[in-house]
Each structure stands twice: as C-alpha cells, then as structure tokens.
Amino acid sequence: MSILQNVQDYIKNLKFSMIILPVFSILLALIFGSILIISIGVNPIEAYKYLFTGAFGSWIQITETLVNAIPLIFTGLAITIAFRASIFNIGAEGQLYFGAVFATWAGVTFSLPIYIHLPFAILMGFIGGMIWGAIPGILNAKKGLNIVIVTLLMNYIAIHFTDFLLNGPLQQPGSWNPQSSLIESTVILPIIFERTSVHAGLILALALAVIVYIFLWKSTLGFKLRMVGGNKKASENAGVSIDKTIILTMLLSGGIAGIAGAVEILGKHHRLITGFSPEYGFDAIAVAIMGRLHPLGVIIAAIFFGGLRAGASVMQTAVRMPVVAVSVIQGLVILFIVAGTAADIDWSKIFKKGGGLK
C-alpha cells in the first residue's frame, strides 16, 4: 500500500514538474505578453496566430523551426549539465563563439577526406568551447571567483575577440566584410531532408541528448556531479572532490556549447560571420529551465523556442511586432517556472481556501 502510494506521489510530482508547470508557465507568459502587445497597438490574438502558424503551420515552417532548434538543443544540454551541478554557467554564448572559431579554423585551413575532416572540425569546436569553459571553472574552483560574473564577462571578451579575428587573421582574403572564407566542402554537415535546410546537426544533437542522459543518470561521474549540485557539504563528506567536479562540469558544459557553435558554422552558415548567433547561449537558459534540466525536456523546449524564433519573423512582417518580443516570453517563462518550482505551492489546493501557498 505504502509503496503504491509512493509511486503515485512520484508520478504526480513528475507530472507537475515536467508537464503542468512548463505548460502553465507558457500560458501565463503569453497572457502577460499580450498586455505588452496591446500596449503598442497590436491585436495579440492576431500576433500569436502568426507566431504559431509561422512556427508550425507548414512543413517548410516546421523545418525552419528544427534548424533553429539545433543550436538550442546543444546549448540547452550544456546549461543542463552545469545547472545540475549547481554551477551557474551563464557563458554559453562565449563558449559557443569559441567553438565556432575553432571549427571554422579547422574548416578553412585543412584539406582532408570527409570522414576525418568533419569529425575533426566538430572536435575542434568542442575543444574551443572547452577552453573557454575551463577558465571560469578553474577560477571558480581554485580562486573562488563568482562563476556567474566571470562567465558573463567572458562572453563580451569572446564576442569582441571573434570580431577581431574576422577583421584580421581569419578574414577572407581580399574581402572587406567581417567574414571568414567558406569552409571546405569536406566539413559541411549534409542536409538530411531534401529541399530544406535541416542538416545532420539535428541527428548529432539528438544523439548527444541521449549521451547526456546516460552520463547524468547512469554513470558514476554524472552521479557525483548531481550530488555536488544537490549538497556540496554532503558530497565533500562522501569524498567527492568539489574542485574537480566544478572543473569537469565546466569542461563538458563549455565543450558542448562549443559544438553548438561548430555545428552552426558547419551546417548552416558554412563560414564564420559576425552576429551568427542571435544569443543562442542566453536562450539556452530558457530552454534548460523550461526543459526542467532534463535532456528530453531540453529537446522539446528547444523545438518550442526555436519555433518561436521562426514564427516571430513571420509575425514581424505580418503585424509589425518585433522579433525581440520572444525575449519577453522567454524571460517570463523562466521567471514563472523558477518561481513555481521554489515556491512549494500545493497546486491541488490552488483554487481552494488559502490559495495553495503552504
């Protein structure tokens, strides 16, 4: 009886945290967002209609959504690993830039057979992101620097540094534009659906989600990482090295964000250009939080937010609602979910006396 009760409670909790809370938060965000939309004189129902048909209305639209979702799955997984260890890596954007730089370098410098060149370029992306993730990890573990602030500052440095490379060493010879040469054809990720721009990065992203799941829940290292995330003192007493865990987590998190940058170049842009990332590294935080720091949730959330970005362009042309409105929705979703998780609200009693706040 009591075991059955436990299982029922577990399922109830899971249903709440994985499904009810995110869905509820999105709805609430859309309602609050509509106030803003009305305030600039646009009909919110009209705006949302274009937003959702623009995201999921037709096969072409859906493929556009999937293309947007690819980098978000990678960066969302990067954030998931870090946040699971309670390490607040807000620097996925910078790590993504470094991954893109390293992968581009590998892509324009060498001529190799595809089965060596492509994995090599992706590996370089991983290494680039890893380097940029390792620095704050080491500074935090060894010197006690605030990881949030270090990763944030390093975003700006990475973006300016990339800009320097594109106007200097990595610039396409003879070009005045801030862009690199086109990468070799042997590092281009192939298109997987004909007549669309969905590239093989999607398969890599889904595969990585499975790997991250196995790592976090089926491996000793992943267990240690989550343990440190749950309770630093207890894990230290159990003999887990906090410093090592922090550095390892940042290596992995940075590396995965780096792959996101690499895949964007190898699959989508085929050259490094300024502003190639519309802040995927920050959107990733919304993705990871909405995905409840779970790989499956991350995939769903990435497709949702990727869709919002695709739909927002349609909405912008149709009703003059700027694309940046997506940030409002993202910000609100983050706030509602993070407040809803922590507030310890008894949702079954929310509409009864006492409002449900315990």
């Binding site: 270090v150 920050f282 910000g331």
Partner: protein, 311 residues
C-alpha cells in the same frame, strides 16, 4: 606606444572622462550595495539599467525634460526590481536564474516598446540631453575645479548618492538592520525585523538608483536610446561591489577603476594608436576580470543568495 598610453593616463582629459564614465557604474553599484548587504544577489542590475536607459530616454522624449526622463527611468528600474523581489523574496526563486529571466524581460520589453512606439524611425529619434553645469565658487579652484565641478548634474547626483549610502550604513539604525538581515536573517526575525520587508525595500530602492544609472547613458552620454547600450555595465557594477568588499568606499574606488578602464579605451581609440579596436573594447571586461582575479576569495554577506522562509 607605452609612452603614448602613459601620456593619455596622465592627462587632465583622461581624468575628467574617467569621472564621467564612473558615474553610471557608481550609481548602479551603490544601489546594488543596499540589496547585497541585505543578502540579495543583485544580478538584476543589468536589467534595471536597461530599463533606466530606455525609460529615461522615453520620458525625456515625450516631455522634453531631462529630469522627467530621470524620474521615468527610476520608475522603470524600480518595476524591474519589484518583479525580481516578487520572484526571489516571495516565491524563493533561485536568484541567479530569476536574474537571467528579469534581464531578458527588461531587454525584451524595452526593445518592443522602442520599436513599436517609433515605427520606422526608431534609430533617428532623439531626446533631450543633460548639459554641463558649472558649480560656481567650487569650479574656480585651480585644476581641481574644472575636473570635479564642471560636469553634468547626474555626476553630482552620483556623488550625493554615494555620501547618502555611506552615511546610511555608518550612522543609521536602518543601515544596521539591513546589514543584520544580510548576515543573520533568522536572528532578525526573532527581534521583530521583517526580512521580507527589508529585502523588498532594498531591491526596489536599488531599482530606483540603478534606473538613474541607466539614464546616464541615454540622457547624459547620448541623447537617444540604442539597443544594447548598457552592454554589461550592470555586471561590471556588480563586480565593483565584490571588489570593494561590500563597503561603500571600496566600491567607489572599484567603480572608478572600471570607469577609468572604459575612459582609457575611448581615449586610445581617439588617439589613433595602432591597437585593433576590438581589444580596446575588451579592456573594461578584462580589467574587471583581472581585478577579481587579483582580489581572489572574498567574504560576502553570510546569507547572500539564500532564500529566507519563516519556518
């Protein structure tokens, strides 16, 4: 080249520009200090400044008055503070994640209104701008007079805010209460200080001041709003609090160092030295990072970042 840079550093213009560039950082850091000492991780400074920059411009634009702009900037900053306070104090939300959410919200809301309200010509719209105001008598002091007392009024306002925050923590009961809430929230509650009330108030006052900080950019440096114009100043102000050891004077010095780094990068660009400008743009962030590295481990308020619930 090193000689050229030294020549820039030891010029009066550089010192003057440093004071100018310190102003928004000092304001934001002073506001942040209030909330930080109450045990709140005030990573929402960036969003408050974004709101201040936009609403400062907007208020100035619709009325033509810079001071009305400042007022609206304060309201904008305080609203962002209110959202942050509701999430973190009432709902005990994780402060880092809530701050990310609040900052995204601030960027989104201001950009949507900016582009929505100025259809077609958002980039061209200009508002009023603060003029230099020479403080008589004081500005007649040789050398120092021109450096310190011939600025826009917001610079003097920042100095006043600094003095007020300093006095607040040093001499008032309320200052003591705020510090106590940041160190021992549980003990405070037992002697009848409401932790919730203190944290709400400090976050909202922080929003008011950080709003002014944001308006320095759109009403002081420029006469218009540019998306992304805050560009991490909120984070740098946050770093100034850490570097200043959560003390007003220390935070003032740290803010000045970061302000000077920004002034230096602008002066070197104007001087035309042969350094790629992207490296100069990195300078404020690098200097911030480096100074955090030098200062190393710090002692933050004991209850920092801990949600507090009566149980």
């Amino acid at each position: 080249m090193i000689l050229d840079i030294l020549q820039i550093i030891f010029s009066a213009e550089f010192f003057y520009a440093s004071i100018r560039m310190t102003t928004p950082l000092l304001l934001a850091a002073m506001g942040g200090l209030l909330a930080e000492r109450a045990g709140v991780l005030i990573l929402s400074l960036e969003g408050m400044m974004v709101a201040g920059a936009f609403f400062g411009f907007y208020g100035g634009y619709i009325t033509g008055s810079v001071w009305f702009g400042v007022l609206l900037a304060m309201i904008g900053g305080a609203l962002i503070g209110l959202v942050y306070a509701i999430a973190t104090v009432s709902f005990n939300a994780n402060q880092v994640v809530a701050a990310v959410g609040v900052n995204m919200l601030a960027v989104g809301v201001t950009s949507v209104i900016f582009r929505g309200a100025f259809v077609g010509g958002a980039g061209q719209a200009t508002g009023p701008q603060f003029l230099r105001y020479r403080l008589h008598f004081l500005s007649d002091i040789p050398i120092i007079g021109d450096l310190f007392f011939n600025h826009i009024p917001l610079v003097y306002l920042a100095a006043i805010v600094f003095v007020l925050v300093y006095l607040f923590f040093k001499y008032t009961d309320w200052g003591l209460k705020v510090k106590a809430v940041g160190e021992h929230p549980l003990a405070c509650e037992s002697v009848g200080i409401s932790v919730t009330k203190v944290r709400y108030l400090t976050i909202i006052v922080c929003g008011l001041i950080a709003g002014i900080a944001g308006s320095t950019l759109s009403l002081g440096y420029l006469n218009r709003f540019v998306e992304g114009m805050v560009s991490g100043r909120g984070w740098i102000a946050f770093s100034a609090i850490i570097l200043g050891g959560w003390q007003p004077v220390g935070t003032l010095i740290a803010s000045f160092i970061f302000g000077a780094a920004n002034a230096l990068q602008i002066r070197i660009q104007a001087y035309g030295l042969n350094i790629p400008f992207q490296f100069l743009l990195m300078l404020p962030y690098l200097v911030t990072l480096l100074s955090l590295f030098i200062i190393g481990k710090v002692h933050s308020p004991a209850a920092q970042g801990q949600p507090y619930s009566k149980e």
